[in-house]
């Protein structure tokens, strides 16, 4: 199989955005990867390896081989990400590629890994397509997805804001935005909300005032921002500037919802994030053992708590290493088999399943709210509810995930 490690070491490829708007996420992912490698090689305090339900890993590398890594810059562009991943595979002999912080990149790199015959452990990617219509036998996603966000968020929204609401969606005009809009719409409409309007906004937009201004007058009383990154920061800031949060509509307080939160981004929005509901894959303030261990070792090393991006990347690395260890081989097909249908715990999200049918992880989802009185610059979100896994599960052939096929695993040459 491709890049079978022959010497005393094995090389992993960490492909993260180092430039471009997601560079901070990328930097945090890289920190997590470095930490994971340290732990795998027996350094540090072992982090979540201590709390991981599987005990296959011993801190002596993977299958006794020392873990080394190469890094690359995806620039959050599918092209560049593929080039970078390709060079890791061709030049550096990487046996597994992981990282990315956009669904477009994840899908593109996943496709490449499938063709090249290496395993891809997706980083930050939230679109339904990654494990939906674009799923691949060699690709695995630990992060949650838009459908799960909708399923987790909708009941909380109904509880907080009532079931008789009129929603106005602003959606970033690209694949991820669309799947999220679709998911949130479906979930909220199922609870009785009405969708007044759903407007696509250009990805490159920086000033959203002309999209925000018409909202007030539309009869809507909730604004859903299907935005991420700079888009989210700007649209939320604009919405608050227009005073949406102080307004009344249909006799109710006007509300804003940001379905996908990230703490790093929340920082950019500053004060504006306070009290706003959203969902997230993981948060450092969780109190389970896995989380505590991870936050401790990450915090000690870097001086601040990890982001959800860091968490998912760290976990993906451990999961891969563990799968190899259990399979006893680096062969991608063996690893895939070891991951498929694998149940584990102790990695921060409670009991988790890597579903065989689509290589998506199923676990509890967090609903969070922007904290009113943060105690520190990291303490921006508070967990409102931990939505149990059962509530966010869906059938592998759910229409939002239909089309495409996993195909068969490719071990390469």
């Amino acid at each position: 199989f491709t890049n079978e490690p022959t010497g005393g070491s094995v090389t992993l490829g960490f492909n993260v955005p180092q430039t471009g708007p997601y560079a901070d996420e990328g930097a945090d992912e890289l920190r997590a990867y470095e930490l994971a490698v340290e732990h795998l090689n027996g350094g540090g305090d072992g982090g979540m390896m201590q709390t991981f339900s599987s005990k296959a890993l011993e801190g002596s590398g993977i299958l006794g081989k020392k873990v080394e890594y190469v890094t690359g810059d995806t620039q959050t562009k599918s092209d560049a990400a593929r080039a970078s991943a390709k060079s890791m595979i061709e030049k550096d002999g990487a046996i597994m590629i992981t990282g990315g912080s956009s669904s477009g990149v994840a899908v593109a790199v996943q496709g490449l890994c499938q063709e090249a015959g290496v395993i891809f452990m997706a980083g930050l990617t939230h679109s339904n397509d990654t494990t939906g219509k674009d799923k691949k036998a060699n690709g695995f996603r630990h992060f949650f997805n838009a459908y799960m966000s909708g399923a987790a968020l909708a009941p909380v929204l109904a509880k907080a804001y009532g079931e008789d609401r009129k929603a106005y969606h602003l959606t970033a005009d690209y694949t991820w935005g669309w799947t999220q809009e679709e998911s949130i719409k479906a979930a909220t409409e199922a609870l009785g909300w009405e969708t007044v309007e759903a407007v696509k906004t250009p990805l490159a937009q920086t000033d959203f005032s002309s999209y925000i201004a018409p909202v007030l007058n539309s009869g809507a009383d909730v604004l859903v921002l299907n935005h991420y990154g700079g888009n989210m920061v700007n649209s939320l800031t604009n919405a608050v500037q227009f005073g949406l949060r102080e307004k009344q509509a249909n006799g109710k307080n006007f509300e804003i919802v940001v379905p996908l939160f990230s703490r790093l981004m929340a920082r950019g929005a500053g004060e504006n994030i306070k009290g706003i509901l959203g969902s997230t894959n993981w948060h450092w303030s969780l109190q389970d053992e896995g989380t505590k261990a991870f936050v401790k070792s990450f915090g000690t090393k870097y001086g601040f708590p990890p982001s959800q991006a860091a968490h998912t990347c760290y976990v993906q690395t451990l999961l891969y290493a563990d799968a190899v260890q259990r399979a006893g081989s680096f062969d991608p097909c063996a690893v895939a088999e070891a991951l498929e249908g694998y149940e584990f715990d102790g990695l921060g999200n409670g009991p988790t399943l890597y579903r065989a049918e689509d290589h998506q992880c199923f676990k509890d989802v967090l609903v969070v709210r922007g904290k009113e009185n943060p105690t520190s610059e990291f303490d921006l979100l508070e967990v409102v509810e931990i939505t149990p896994r059962g509530q966010v599960e869906y059938a592998p052939d759910h229409p939002m995930f239909a089309g495409g096929a996993l195909g068969s695993c490719n071990p390469g040459v």
Binding site: V70, D79, E90, E115, L203, S408
Partner: protein, 400 residues
């Protein structure tokens, strides 16, 4: 020979030999040495060198000769890629029809954009081309997703029809781009001592096409057509009153260079069958411009050098992380080691843009003619040594 003058022939042969032996030349460091990080001789990067070389050569035909600065050239690259991937999806994985279609489609696209944009000159022309390209990019990213697959980029999948090929291989995989069965991604590795040299089919296919493109470019530079283009740059007014219409000449140059870009886009898709919208973004167009100027606009070999330079930085410097830097300086005492790493840190890895920006500035400040000028200066210095007296007497002669 080949209808080239002696100097051109020499240049062409040098380029040909370099292209042929690139796997050796670009891999000077043994695989297990610390410097192996700087090796560029792996298939993907070598392919990129020659493919972006083609793009820059084509761009230079327009910009170097006519002085029309297109700021939307990446659009043709993107269109070429999309055309090629669609060919893979619909027809077959053979690269020949894909390349042909990508050239045809980008050529047609260039006719339309060129016809409109060339009604203006100077900065107005640049902005028109930029506007077209940005429109293409924005649309490809969103509204045209059914054709372009938006953010992810157009990929081949298992359920593509592929009329003349198969949708999926026997073992359920996606078939591979090939030239009559010769797979683009296959390569041979030659191990000599600690060195490992990779010979990739895709690279050699691209390199041969690059050499053909380069040859055609030389012919164009030396042709009456090339001379007309330079005349357009020099004085359009005179040209009009000499009985020549500049418009068809510039349009021809625009279309030719658009087709070069389309060819490059098609080849990119042949090496890696994905066409991303970012290929069309203004930054990508800007990159072509930078490659050409950096290498030396209006020179034959400059653009190829510029393309190599930028791609090298993008691929090699971005991958140097602290771990690697530590590896280099590990012989130093600990404190010093950390200091050196801290000093190097901002310039490599995620700081590769910083280094690139600095290099742009340094080169353009100190080598106004680009890398070619640098090369000339070195060779002049080398040559001057023995012929110093000649040079002196020559420079004191009157100009006439």
């Amino acid at each position: 020979m080949f209808g080239l003058g002696k100097r051109d022939l020499t240049l062409f042969l040098i380029v040909a030999v370099m292209a042929l032996f690139a796997p050796f030349i670009l891999n000077p460091f043994p695989t297990d040495s610390g410097m192996a990080q700087f090796n560029a001789g792996y298939p993907d990067l070598m392919q990129r060198f020659v493919i972006f070389g083609i793009l820059a050569i084509g761009f230079n035909i327009l910009f170097g000769l006519t002085g029309y600065l297109s700021f939307g050239h990446a659009a043709f690259l993107g269109v070429g890629s999309y055309a090629a991937v669609w060919m893979f999806k619909l027809l077959s994985m053979n690269v020949i029809p894909a390349i042909l279609l990508s050239m045809i489609v980008s050529g047609l696209f260039a006719v339309v954009i060129g016809y409109v944009s060339l009604r203006r000159s100077g900065i107005y022309f640049s902005i028109l081309t930029l506007a077209f390209a940005q429109m293409s990019y924005n649309l490809a990213y969103s509204v045209l997703t059914p054709i372009t697959n938006g953010e992810t980029g157009l990929q081949i999948t298992l359920d593509d029809p592929r009329i003349l090929g198969v949708s999926a291989t026997a073992d359920g995989g996606i078939p591979v781009t090939n030239l009559f069965g010769l797979e683009m991604r296959s390569f041979e590795t030659l191990n000599i001592g600690p060195w490992a040299f990779q010979f990739s089919v895709g690279y050699y296919v691209a390199a041969v096409i690059m050499l053909i493109s380069f040859y055609i470019a030389i012919r164009i530079f030396r042709s009456p057509f090339g001379m007309m283009l330079r005349a357009i740059k020099s004085n359009q007014n005179r040209l009009y009153y000499t009985g020549l219409n500049a418009r068809p000449y510039t349009l021809a140059a625009f279309v030719i260079s658009g087709m070069y870009a389309g060819l490059a886009g098609g080849l990119l898709a042949c090496m890696d069958p994905l066409a991303g919208a970012e290929r069309m973004q203004w930054t990508a167009s800007g990159e072509v411009v930078l490659m050409t100027i950096l290498g030396g606009a209006g020179t034959l070999i400059g653009p190829v050098l510029g393309a190599g330079f930028i791609k090298y930085f993008e691929n090699i410097f971005s991958k140097i992380n602290d771990q690697v830097v530590h590896g280099w300086v590990s012989f130093l005492p600990d404190g010093l080691e950390d200091l050196v790493v801290a000093l190097i840190h901002p310039f490599v890895g995620k700081g590769w843009h910083l280094t690139l920006g600095l290099m742009f500035m340094l080169i353009v400040i100190f080598l106004p003619g680009g890398l070619v000028e640098g090369g000339q200066r070195i060779s002049r210095r080398l040559r001057r040594k023995p012929a110093e007296d000649d040079a002196k007497s020559a420079s004191t002669e009157p100009a006439e």
